[in-house]
Symmetry: D3
Subunit: 156 residues, 6 copies
């Protein structure tokens, strides 16, 4: 098993050199979940209007955060992104969040997809925390990544 | 049960007025967890040196992100923060993340504590994703909040 | 008539000292307008659903931008904001934008309200530019300001 | 007439995929105008020195804002910019603002040019608001765009 | 001699709690110097016009950076600033930079004044690097601080 | 000797056009120094543990700042960076800071390397200012640049 790539032999953090990699299409999909109450899910649903401002605000927050991943995660490379989508699926006592990010650059976009998911979920928490202070974010992880040297990876 | 505070009667998002609230000490503690493999935890432990750059980088990322919560979460108020701590506890196959934020302002700091936890956890994911692409963030929620009109709240 | 306050006697820009001012409630309202075509207004209306993502996205953009005014306008003070609202009114060939910002600080919030209006309008332009590249922003100005030493000011 | 490109069939906002587009030279020019009083224009002119800090500050603000367009306008792509200019022309009771932005990327730079114009104009408003609280921004729109699939577009 | 305040007993970085401190007027002055060639200083002087865009741009950059100190320096508190000035004095082969920052908050503003000086100096380097790639920044330090528990401190 | 490239014939600042340049590997190394006391250096050394949070925090700050150079230095181009390293060497009464930045773009990365050095040094000042308010940053300059039209440049 390889060492932690972001820390050199002396244990010091660095932004690893990706300059020798070939630019190319890379796509990553990440998912996560807000666990809350059935009542809160109903409020987010907005009487059947899933396109109300509550979800729209969280979607925009996730999209905007994906673009700023490199400002938040210290060793991420600043990269151009060519596509970002954030989707919600309302369950009984939870909201599933799914984000997909693509680029045409020298490094992958898993962190960007994960950042979109977590900030969208945080925004939902902010919306519901007055009615459900115990709301929790769970299951945030990469679902699939395509492209780059390692090719396709999918969560089992 | 009250309505979603961040959305008005017409369903439109707004940043609610906190100008009438009294400034005062508010403290929030949040927690979360990176679920990964025993091997990855060993690498983060750095041969017994829990203060290596890996955890330090994630701690700094969490602290810096807490200060930028209002840039990320659309309806959060921009507020001064008087204290931020981020702590890690290495388990067998997981890393527990805990953050505490305090302020002397007109609104609470739960979102700031949650943002510190999630960005610290995202930074750990970034560090370990080459060796464990299936790493997952779970259990992100408020643990305790003190101060403000609602006073003390604690997760059961 | 007084001199330009942001430039000193030598003609040099500076961020003027507001430290001697009393903190207090200040509210500013600004307005502006997107001039476009009747067809575009229909699309934004979304078949009667004024709460679709198009307007919600522009509203969120305006709210978020207001908080970052001091990052954009070089001589604006970084200040806490206690309230931000952004509203749209769909006309025949235009969309009226109106923003209100309040704080409890040592300086006014006109620039924050104006920034909310302009960035919300820019976001609408971004949405409609593929169908109306000639869309134009007009009439961006302060409507009313309340509080501070100068008290109430209203556009005639 | 095509639909709004930034909103999908379900009415949800997304950052559209530009990954399939060819990179290439794109140039956009935008314009706008600060309407104020003859006295204010004289102050900005600075006794004949059009290069005083007032206009220089607004120019720098516009240039810096153009680079941050993707942080402000939610569905804009983060892109590298290869050129930004901001110019002012002092009229009798107005200041004309004109910006030109170029890139070598997969999407156009109209929004960047418009952001440069509006933030430069907002900075002028900030400078003059103490002497002319009724100052207004008008006529903000794209003047010309060159490059990309749609080729040349010019405002009539 | 006290320990490093930003690192706890376990050697972990944290943003120290200033919530118990009294808000009050604090002023800090910092200075620094760009060492370059006589020819470069002449160019910056702009044929006798010290108010040309070169120095104005660097001044604006310093002022804007001071406001973002807490985004750059990880353990700095986000604070409101009530005043920022940046001044240049052209020497024979150097440009002296001096910044003053004031606030009415719970912690000092030395880091803000130092950030203003360094970013103003970096901007000058950017301006002159094509003609003097060996330009160097020297002597960046606090000159004086007033206010707070420690009261007046002056460099000898 | 050429004119200041960032100011046009009329003395106005602009972000120069690099669109005609060829993309290619560019690497820049910059250095600087924190001058402080022997006691402070010992504290930073952390009883022999040079990898304690103090230096790790400054290293992360430098890396993150390099990525934001274009937000700080007004006329710098926003560019992707492929590598960033920041290193410290503890002397008797000083800490040497060295940063290396690489990209594959149309313009050089000297400013990014210099920004990494200065923000890392500012973070050290922040850490030590309570024990050494007279700490000073000196000798900040480019050490070497490789690539681009001008090819190799090295400080004598």
């Amino acid at each position: 098993m390889s060492e932690l790539t972001h820390v050199n032999a002396a244990g010091e953090a660095h932004m690893v050199d990706v300059g020798h990699k070939d630019p190319g299409r890379r796509v990553a999909t990440a998912a996560g979940r807000l666990d809350t109450t059935a009542e809160v899910v109903e409020k987010l649903r907005g009487n059947g209007l899933a396109k109300g401002d509550a979800l729209a605000t969280a979607r925009v927050a996730g999209i905007m955060a994906a673009k700023r991943t490199w400002e938040l995660v210290p060793l991420c490379h600043p990269i151009a992104l060519s596509k970002i989508t954030v989707e919600f699926e309302l369950g009984e006592e939870s909201v599933a969040v799914r984000a997909q990010v693509a680029n045409n650059d020298r490094t992958g976009v898993e962190m960007e997809a994960l950042t979109a998911v977590t900030v969208a979920a945080l925004t939902l928490v902010d919306m519901v925390k007055a009615v459900d202070p115990a709301a929790e974010i769970n299951g945030v992880g990469v679902v699939e990544k395509v492209g780059g040297k390692t090719g396709l990876w999918q969560r089992n």
